[in-house]
């Protein structure tokens, strides 16, 4: 760097310190970048080591035991794993068809862009509302609204195991429905991107052969966008499995397993939310074990989603 303003004094050689600064800067940013990558490993490592005592004590039996007793120091997370899977499944059952419907609505030319853009924005906002606000709304609005419907289901279809209990208010079904609202924007947004990415030439070819709009959609556009949509659904599934606050607030937090979706239940995340703050000893370790299981489940789902979405975006 020039130390003098005189023209003849313009240095022809970069100073050592400048070269060092340049090199150092690259190194420092590199260290931070690698640090970002290591955070994921650090989470796995720390949660893993902290759950070791529980792993040694309960082994894989932890996954098959429903009992969670602080007094007897017996811990098993089957109820919660079951709850996580069932609530996520209900959420997907509702959000996938509606989400893809929304994506089609927003990717086809039903509306002029000036109206379409704000709707895209509104649906994105759905994803931005804090989980705890959904939970509050769930307690005071959604559950009272759902209750008569649950009672009706139980009265008329009580012979089906999944409707076999009278709803107490909060319950697995309420958690599933809240989750479906929360993951809908993810499915809609990613599916829409995948649909829009299908080349217009292909669409025109189908129209040119005399296909109707919906023949084109079902036979050409949806198959072409399939992997992107599946990737979006997987990401949504990961979100649903890890979602905590809204679920904790509406699921009832019961520690017994029941096939009926109208009954109260709990998920791995609601277990962690309820017990961590006051836990000690083996309970902490067992909670870490549960967290590790949740981490593993979402990791598998997210990595698959990431690979699918990546392969899909490379292809187009």
């Amino acid at each position: 760097m020039a130390t003098s303003t005189s023209r003849t004094a313009m240095p022809t050689q970069r100073s050592n310190s400048s070269r060092l600064l340049d090199k150092g800067f690259v190194w420092v940013t590199g260290a931070f970048a690698i640090g970002v990558g290591l955070v994921l490993l650090a989470i796995a490592y720390r949660v893993g080591t902290d759950s070791l005592p529980a792993i040694q004590r309960f082994g894989l039996g932890f996954l098959a035991t429903t009992r969670w007793s602080v007094n007897d120091e017996v811990f098993g997370a089957l109820t919660q794993i079951y709850g996580t899977l069932v609530t996520s499944f209900i959420a997907l059952l509702i959000a996938v068809p509606i989400g893809i419907g929304v994506a089609l609505f927003l990717s086809e030319d039903y509306l002029p862009p000036r109206i379409k853009q704000p709707i895209v924005f509104l649906i994105e906002l759905l994803a931005a509302i804090p989980s705890v606000v959904y939970g509050l709304w769930g307690i005071f609005v959604l559950i009272p609204l759902l209750r008569p419907f649950g009672i009706w289901l139980n009265a008329n279809f009580g012979w089906i195991p999944i409707f076999s209990t009278a709803p107490a208010g909060p319950g697995i079904y309420a958690a599933g429905i809240i989750l479906s609202i929360m993951i809908l924007p993810i499915i809609a947004a990613i599916s829409r991107d995948a649909l829009v990415a299908v080349p217009t030439e292909i669409r025109q070819a189908a129209y040119g052969l005399g296909a109707t709009r919906w023949e084109t959609i079902f036979q050409i556009i949806l198959p072409a966008a399939f992997s992107g949509i599946v990737g979006g659904i997987m990401l949504a599934l990961g979100r649903a499995m890890g979602e905590t606050m809204a679920v904790t607030m509406v699921i009832g937090n019961s520690n017994s397993i029941d096939l009926s979706i109208l009954s109260q239940g709990s998920t791995v995340s609601s277990l962690l939310a309820n017990q961590f703050a006051e836990a000690g000893g083996l309970q902490v370790s067992s909670l870490m074990y549960a967290a590790l299981i949740l981490f593993g489940l979402t990791l598998v789902v997210n990595v698959l989603a990431e690979l699918i979405v990546r392969r899909f975006s490379l292809k187009l």
């Binding site: 970069r14 070269r19 600064l21 340049d22 800067f25 690259v26 940013t29 931070f32 970048a33 690698i34 640090g35 970002v36 990558g37 955070v39 994921l40 650090a42 989470i43 720390r46 949660v47 902290d50 419907g101 929304v102 609505f105 039903y110 709707i119 924005f121 509104l122 649906i123 994105e124 906002l125 931005a128 509302i129 804090p130 705890v132 606000v133 959904y134 939970g135 509050l136 709304w137 005071f140 809609a188 109707t212 709009r213 919906w214 023949e215 499995m241 890890g242 905590t244 606050m245 607030m249 962690l272 939310a273 961590f276 703050a277 870490m288 967290a291 981490f295 979402t298 789902v301 997210n302």
Partner: protein
């Protein structure tokens, strides 16, 4: 030529009752219904929060401590300060970290195996449940310091914000045209000078947009705060003690049996939702302006 001399065309008339047309019409209606169905919860949540929240949102709720159970009055002044504090700590930790990492990924090692791997890990990190990040922060900070604290909460939120910041900053830097860099390097600037004086300023508005969105999301997060910052009924005195936050307060008061506390839960929700909406609209406005 008169049309009577033309050969007869095959029948191409519309028939609204043919199965193909009928199917198309039904599916179109279904799609419109899906869109309407998706917007109902948004409208319902926003209107309930607005109506219930606004009725108890007076100026003094911002300045007072939470009421004791069963009492009237009070507010969430300490929680507001606590949220600012934890989110502030999270920003101080995650923004430099994330932006530096993004500079490396976008400027120095773009399109390499290493950068691709880190991008992949970053995307996977953004999918880790926030409650698991809370458990991680609990193990790392709470257990080693022996206390719930704003620092522990801030650390958890920082981990949560990191992937968003890295991703938006990387994208922002990558979208700076290559000509700028070549011009600067052509003048003999080092990579350090080029990045700091040319590329970073050009990408700054987009980076700020991403950071604002990350901060707004973090302010609404509850799960990682639950057993890291925990909560408190008092004003913040130190960053090394349990700290109240807005989102935790909404959670506690939503499940409390007292009417005044539930009112405050709605008012707190309105504050959080307003924050998120305002930042979303602001960032959209910034993006559109550019």
């Amino acid at each position: 030529m008169a049309s009577s001399e033309l050969a007869t065309a095959p029948n191409m008339k519309r028939s609204p009752t043919s199965p193909r047309t009928l199917f198309s019409s039904v599916m179109t209606v279904v799609t419109f219904a899906c869109a309407a169905l998706a917007l109902i919860p948004l409208v319902a949540v926003l209107s309930y929060v607005l109506i219930n929240g606004a009725s108890s949102l007076r100026l003094d709720v911002f300045t007072q401590l939470p009421p004791a159970p069963g009492l009237k009055g009070g507010g969430f002044g300490n929680a507001l300060v606590g949220t600012l504090l934890t989110v502030g700590i999270a920003s101080v930790l995650s923004i430099p970290f994330g932006v530096m990492a993004a500079i490396f990924l976008a400027e120095f090692y773009r399109d390499t195996k290493l950068a691709e791997t880190i991008n992949f890990l970053t995307n996977v990190l953004s999918g880790v449940p926030s409650i698991v990040i809370g458990a991680f922060a609990y193990a790392l900070v709470v257990l080693s310091t022996g206390t719930f604290s704003a620092v522990a909460g801030g650390f958890a939120l920082a981990v949560l914000m990191l992937p968003t910041i890295v991703r938006t900053a990387t994208e922002a830097l990558e979208s700076v045209p290559g000509d700028f860099r070549q011009a600067a390097i052509g003048l003999g600037a080092t990579r350090f000078q080029t990045t700091l004086r040319i590329v970073l300023p050009a990408a700054l508005p987009a980076i700020i947009t991403g950071v604002i969105l990350a901060i707004a999301r973090a302010a609404g997060e509850t799960a990682p705060i639950l057993f890291t910052a925990s909560t408190s009924r008092y004003w913040v005195r130190s960053i090394w003690e349990p700290t109240a936050t807005m989102s935790r307060l909404v959670f506690d008061f939503a499940t409390a049996p007292y009417e005044r506390q539930q009112e405050l839960a709605w008012a707190g929700s309105l504050v959080l939702v307003t924050l998120v909406l305002a930042t979303s609209i602001l960032s959209r406005w910034i993006v559109r302006k550019r």
